[in-house]
């Protein structure tokens, strides 16, 4: 059995070296996608990464409006443009880039605050750029609170000259919950492991399932079986070769990520090997499952890519798990990708020690073992029949 596994692994290595498309899929394609995703979606993790242009129409001209405009001008990454006309502001939102919202301060806002009523600012929003708009709205909301407190304090001061001292501005200072010193995350800390795992899954699915169908089509599987080699040994040999390739692929992607995008490798970069081993094992086993349920060579590609993409997306490879609805987060607990991404995030972003990855590793290996059993039983019984 061990001899069969070893000889099959060697042969897989020979076949891989001869196939340049495999090298493209394993290395070049992930780096390109990681670069595109990291640069374009960086604002999800770093609020100051992009600058916005904010058209403001001041119809109030009171103290509160002036205070708010001053505060907005001090905001990092926000460029305030004062306009006279609300309609002009509205059209800018729909037409111009980096302008997801526009603010109108209606007449009577300052006096309304002083009188204790609740005036409302008007914010024009481009629904297509909802994510960017949300980021700006959060900052506007904070400003409104601070300006309101100040105005109220001023009004109260005029009425009660001898009363107790009113509190000053409310503000907050952001700190990370983990051990990392950085509050803002380099988006590539998420996307290098995320898309690395995605391409690892795709590579495994297609690599294992397609080569098994190739072996059938080429007739080599039949000849190898006549040689007396155990089928399970042949399958495990293929899986082992791809398992090693998966680890090498992730190691290279982390090295490239560090060199090109400056990703954090955590306290102990070698600890990244732990989740990498887990996901390579689970993905290889899943590739065998795909080979055992695909009905033909042509069905491997759609089936494998669908499973890989869904598993990567649900498992938090492309966005934080918290973006997903509750039922999807429950489903995610059965995905090896979820546990792997948790381990990578712990190591790279939260700067946890290597021991933090052991529980996710156990979960990933457990799920992979289930895949392996299903794949082996199905494939062997299919061949025997």
């Amino acid at each position: 059995m061990l001899r069969t596994i070893w000889l099959t692994t060697q042969n897989e290595a020979r076949l891989l070296i001869k196939d340049p498309t495999v090298l493209f899929m394993l290395l070049l394609a992930p780096v390109v996608i990681i670069a595109v995703a990291g640069y374009s979606l960086g604002t999800l993790y770093n609020s100051a990464a992009n600058s916005f242009r904010l058209p403001v129409v001041d119809l109030d001209h009171g103290d509160a409006a002036e205070a708010m405009i001053r505060a907005l001008r001090r905001e990092k990454g926000v460029s305030v443009e004062l306009l006279e006309d609300s309609n002009a502001a509205r059209s800018l939102v729909n037409l111009r880039d980096r302008t997801p919202v526009a603010l109108v301060i209606p007449a009577g806002t300052s006096s309304g605050i002083a009188a204790g009523i609740q005036p409302r600012l008007i914010v024009f929003v481009d629904p297509v750029r909802r994510v960017e708009a949300n980021a700006l709205e959060l900052r506007l909301d904070d400003l409104c609170r601070r300006v309101t407190e100040k105005a109220r304090a001023a009004a109260q001061g005029q009425l009660e000259s001898f009363g107790p001292k009113l509190p000053g501005d409310l503000a907050f200072v952001e700190q990370t919950a983990g051990d990392s010193e950085r509050a803002n995350v380099n988006a590539f800390d998420q996307y290098v492991p995320g898309f690395g795992v995605t391409f690892l899954l795709i590579g495994m699915m297609l690599g294992i399932a397609l080569t098994l169908f190739d072996e059938r089509d080429w007739g080599t599987l039949k000849r190898l079986r006549v040689s007396g080699a155990p089928l399970s040994g042949l399958l495990l040999g293929k899986l082992f070769a791809r398992f090693i390739v998966g680890i090498v692929q992730m190691a290279i992607l982390f090295a490239v990520g560090r060199a090109l995008f400056g990703i954090a490798l955590g306290r102990n970069p070698a600890a990244l090997l732990i989740p990498t081993i887990g996901i390579s094992f689970a993905a290889a086993a899943l590739g065998l499952v795909v080979a055992s349920i695909a009905t033909a060579h042509d069905s491997v590609m759609p089936l494998g890519v669908t499973i890989s993409m869904a598993m990567a997306a649900i498992g938090g490879c492309w966005w934080p798990l918290d973006f997903e609805p509750g039922w999807m987060r429950v489903l995610a607990r059965w995905m090896p990708t979820t546990w792997t991404m948790q381990a990578f995030n712990d190591l790279m972003i939260r700067h946890q020690p290597a021991s933090a990855t052991l529980a996710p590793l156990a979960a990933t290996i457990g799920i992979g073992a289930i895949f392996l059993c299903i794949g082996l039983i199905r494939f062997v019984s299919m061949e025997d029949s």
Binding site: L224, R225, V226, S227, G228
Partner: protein, 316 residues
């Protein structure tokens, strides 16, 4: 020959694919140094028989014996005994000829040193030693077939199973293949040679197993099986125009066993060669313009026709 014990036996094996009976109670045996032709039309059950002999398929009934013993269920130890050359190529297109042969040699259980020696010999035997480092996909069809054979014999198995190894092969490569197979058997191997080319069976095989619709319909040496046709000669006619219905009426012992209107050909079986003149005279009387004819001694094809009423080229 029969004094030597069979190295491979199939005893009353049957196999069905759902409701279709592919093999029906087939028994056969092959001995060292012997080439047994498994001869039959496409779909006769040849590949199923070989798959069962190679232990790739389990028969529904019956059993096979290798060296007098049933093979182990896990197939261990079979690699040394069996070599299979499947009908379709069983090679890695991206690997070189040497890498292909090397991989199968190692998987058959040969050590590194033995594999090195056996690979060189197998490639030399099939005439590919000068192309050893070229990728298989760059080979011609005939060279691929030769490499396919090299991978099947690299470990010198005592039993070699060949499934239509010359399909799609040019004349020169076919000659090379047949010569290699004959010399391999002469060196002591038992060979089962599945084919629907009766010329190949007549040329290199010691014994013939005629199979049709899953049944073994005749078995024996070449002369014995041919004699089943009644040793009746054949005449093949090429004519112009149509053959009238009453074309051979009154010619005792003459039987029409095939005709193709599109090619204007007819094949007749006779009791003796001296009936040729009567046949030609009869056709002239009926105003059939015979442009060519040829006479043939009885062969395996005639035996097959005599036993089944159909030709070997017929599709099932």
């Amino acid at each position: 020959m029969s004094a030597v014990l069979p190295i491979l036996e199939a005893i009353e094996i049957s196999k069905s694919y759902r409701s279709r009976l592919a093999l029906d109670n087939v028994s056969l045996a092959v001995r060292p140094g012997e080439i047994a032709a498994l001869l039959g039309p496409n779909g006769a059950g040849k590949t199923t028989t070989l798959s069962i002999l190679a232990t790739l398929l389990r028969p529904d009934r019956g059993r096979i014996l290798i060296n007098g013993k049933p093979p182990k269920s896990d197939r261990s130890g079979l690699g040394h005994m069996l070599g299979l050359v499947p009908q379709s190529l069983a090679l890695y297109p991206a690997l070189s000829a040497a890498q292909n042969v090397w991989h199968f040699a190692r998987m058959q259980g040969l050590s590194r040193d033995a594999a090195r020696e056996h690979c060189a010999r197998a490639l030399t035997e099939v005439g590919l030693s000068d192309r050893a480092d070229d990728p298989m996909h760059s080979f011609s069809g005939g060279m691929k077939r030769l490499l396919n054979l090299a991978c099947g014999i690299v470990h010198r198995p005592p039993v070699l199973l060949l499934d239509e190894p010359t399909v799609g092969v040019d004349h020169q490569s076919r000659e090379q293949l047949l010569t290699r197979i004959r010399s391999y058997a002469d060196a002591g191997a038992a060979v089962i040679y599945s084919t629907h080319y009766m010329e190949e069976a007549e040329r290199i095989c010691d014994r013939v197993l005629l199979i049709d619709r899953g049944k073994l319909i005749a078995e024996g040496n070449l002369e014995k099986v041919i004699s089943l046709a009644g040793n009746r000669p054949r005449i093949e006619l090429t004519f112009r125009g149509d053959l009238p219905e009453e074309r051979f009426a009154g010619l005792a012992g003459v039987r029409e066993i095939g005709s193709t209107r599109s090619e204007s050909k007819a094949i007749l079986q006779m009791t003796a060669f001296n009936q040729v003149a009567d046949v030609l005279h009869n056709l002239r009387t009926l105003n059939v313009n015979v442009v060519d004819f040829s006479l043939h001694s009885p062969n395996l094809s005639d035996a097959f026709v005599a036993l089944t009423g159909r030709t070997l080229r017929d599709q099932v």
